[in-house]
Point group: C2
Chain length 251, copies 2
């Protein structure tokens, strides 16, 4: 699993991680170590942090739709017919994930449009923030952010009713192998692209963790919430580092 | 079936139809009515006019990809979340048609990218010609041109090996009911949109018949070819008129 630098986030990311667990409740200044009450800690799980499956699924569905649009756009502007074909196929896979999450909302009797509507403003803004300056940065954004978000949401939904099924949907293949190949090809042909994408890959993490964090309640009661969230964040960062490594980019 | 004005094309369209059957061989000036040789006419079929299934399938596959991109774009810029969802679903259906045609090329041992490559220049140019000035014109372009082209290619492939299967793929649902609803809603809310789309719907026909015609050999030996093509054109125009009628637009 590796994750060579997963435990050493750079300062901005450290702030995001701190905020992830403790934003808005002044917890930074509270004394730590209330774990003297073990039976209370044991009751805490990620499910306790995510009281509304409809809101989580609504956000997950709308995020997949955003990645579908990003992939379709990347397919439209692909430099070769092969890349166009592969990115279109990836777009199809991500659209299928979106549809399957919408079906889960339907299954719960929820109005899927209403469930997504509450998230359009911040998700649209998020996709503006992660929009790359060129085709390769766009591909890198799609690869890194959909990886992070699928890892995150795949874990969050695990405790819902039907969690294993929904987690399977969210973790399903999003055509990433093809995207990695296209990125690797670009990096091989232009060494400066590699350093640019390494910076870009690091920059994406903060905004992505923030949009992920937004489905958890504010504030999370520390230290119970933190105790559950910090190992998840460590895993997410390890997976992100693995994706960076796969492209030979130093995380 | 209707087709109230199918037999009365306006002058520009009449020229396209004439060119469709007779371009490049000066046939306009030849005497008509050689049908005194019935056994020769009987041997003529549309399959005789389409010598290369790979080229036809390559063009059909690349046209579906273009419609997929147009639908994804329309989904990205949709004014409501419901419209975005419906257009994304339609894009998924059209992508599935593209993939199924690519699978047919694979089944024939053809290199599908190579089969499409020969058509990218004229198809890309075609999609520029039919690009609408706004979201509604875009939807109208997708609805009318994919309708016409699916009708055309669905018939052309009918004589290929496995023709019924391929024809089924091409004629499969492309989400048109949702597009019709969105267009009808727009027209109901703005009567001037109706007249604008009526003009636009007529304008699209010429360029669409030309891109369709391009898969047939040049020139087509008259009058054998014409005898087969003219009824097909009449049917295509009747179907187009039916689509215009469905939106209350005078064809």
């Amino acid at each position: 699993m590796g994750g060579k630098s997963a435990g050493v986030p750079h300062p901005k990311l450290a702030r995001v991680i701190a905020w992830f667990g403790r934003h808005g409740d002044g917890a930074e200044h509270r004394p730590r170590g209330r774990s003297r009450e073990p039976q209370r800690v044991e009751r805490v799980g990620l499910d306790d942090l995510t009281p509304d499956p409809i809101a989580v699924l609504g956000k997950a569905a709308y995020l997949q739709l955003g990645h579908f649009e990003a992939l379709s756009r990347a397919a439209s502007t692909a430099p070769t017919l092969e890349a166009k074909g592969e990115l279109s196929a990836a777009a199809g896979k991500v659209l299928a994930k979106h549809s399957a999450i919408v079906a889960e909302l339907d299954r719960r009797g929820a109005d899927s449009s209403a469930a997504m509507r509450g998230h359009t403003a911040d998700v649209d803004h998020y996709f503006e923030l992660i929009q790359g300056a060129d085709w390769y940065e766009e591909l890198a954004s799609i690869y890194f952010t959909s990886g992070l978000l699928d890892d995150f949401f795949g874990r969050i939904v695990g405790n819902f009713e039907g969690g294993e099924r929904i987690s399977g949907i969210i973790s399903a293949d999003a055509g990433s192998a093809a995207i990695v190949d296209l990125l690797a090809e670009g990096i091989a042909g232009d060494p400066r692209l590699g350093s640019r994408l390494a910076v870009w890959g690091r920059r994406l993490v903060g905004d992505t963790l923030l949009i992920a964090r937004s489905v958890l309640p504010h504030p999370i009661d520390p230290p119970k919430g933190e105790a559950r969230i910090e190992p998840v964040l460590t895993e997410l960062m390890a997976e992100h580092t693995r994706r960076m490594d796969r492209l030979g980019l130093t995380a």
